[in-house]
Symmetry: C2
DNA sequence: AAGTAGTTTAGAACGATTTTAAAGTAAAAA
DNA sequence: TTTTTACTTTAAAATCGTTCTAAACTACTT
C-alpha cells in the first residue's frame, strides 16, 4: 500500500504536505522524533513547511494511529513511528529512547483494572543510566 | 522525624516557604499534583508564594528524592509524593493517575540492559479508558 | 554582630504549542 | 467542467508552562 492509500485509509486527505511527511515517516523504519526534528528532515529533503502545519499533521497522524506519542516528562513532545505495542529504555540524562520489542517483556502478574475501566495498553519503561 | 529534620537531612535549608510546602506534601498521603495545584493548596492554607519559588522548591525536593516527577506526555509537569518504586494506571482522556503498588506487578522476563548502561528503575504504565 | 552563601520574588523572557483568520486546495455536487 | 463546499495551510500573534534576572531578604557561619 502506498502512502496516498495509507492516508486515504486513515481518513485523511492526501495533501502535498501530508504526503511529504508520510514519505519521511512511513518508510517502515522505527524512529523517535520531535516536531523540530521532523521540520529539519523536511528541510533537508528540499521541501519546507510551516511549523503549525507540522503540528497539525502530527496530531492528525497520531489520532489516526499512523504514529504514536511517547509518554515522557521532557518538555518537548516525542513521537514514535513504531506503532506496535512495545516498550522503551530511557536514558534520563540525555532523553534518548531505545525500543524494546513486546516479546522481550513478560508480565507474570498485573493488577486488577479499576471498576468501570478497560485496559487500553501496557507500557514498560526501563530507566537506564550510563555506567561510570 | 519532623519536616524540619527531613529538610535538613535532605541537605535543604528549612526556609519558611519550604516548610509550608513540606507541611502540605510530606504528610504521608500519596498524591499526584502540578505546580498550580500546589499553589492553590498553599493559598487555601492561608499562605501565598511566588510561582517561581514553587518551581524552585519542587525541583529541589525532586532532586533530593523527597518527591518524584511522573513520566507523562501532558504539557504540565506532574509530581508524586509516593517515592516508593511503584506503577500507574493512566486515564488518557482525563490525565488521571492511579497508583499501582510495586507488589501488584511481577515481571517474568526483562530485556538485557544495553551495553554500558545500568538499570535505574522499571515503571509500568497501564493505560485505561472508561467503559462505554 | 558581621559576613557570606543561599533563597525568595515580581516581572521579564523563553520555548513549545495552539490559535487566528485569510488564502489555498481537494473533494463533492451540479 | 464548473461551481460549491468543506477542509487545509500559513505567517503571525497568542497562550501557557516554566525558567531567568537581579534586587531584596534570610539562614547559617565566623
Ligand atoms: Mn511531557
Ligand atoms: Mn512548555
Ligand atoms: Zn518506540
Ligand atoms: Zn504515583
Amino acid at each position: 500500500m502506498n502512502n496516498k492509500e495509507k492516508l486515504r485509509k486513515a481518513g485523511l486527505r492526501p495533501t502535498k504536505q501530508r504526503m511529504i511527511i508520510a514519505d519521511i515517516l512511513l518508510d517502515g523504519i522505527d524512529r523517535h522524533f520531535t516536531a523540530e526534528n521532523l521540520q529539519n528532515e523536511i528541510n533537508s529533503s528540499g521541501n519546507s513547511m510551516s511549523i503549525a502545519t507540522i503540528y497539525n499533521c502530527l496530531k492528525k497522524f497520531r489520532n489516526c494511529g499512523l504514529i504514536k506519542q511517547v509518554e515522557s516528562s521532557k518538555d518537548t513532545a516525542i513521537f514514535d513511528t513504531n506503532i506496535n505495542q512495545h516498550h522503551h529504555f530511557l536514558d534520563e540524562e540525555t532523553g534518548e529512547l531505545i525500543d524494546i520489542e513486546n516479546d522481550e517483556v513478560n508480565l507474570r502478574k498485573l493488577p486488577k483494572i479499576p471498576q468501570g475501566y478497560l485496559n487500553n495498553g501496557v507500557e514498560v519503561l526501563i530507566k537506564i543510566k550510563k555506567q561510570i
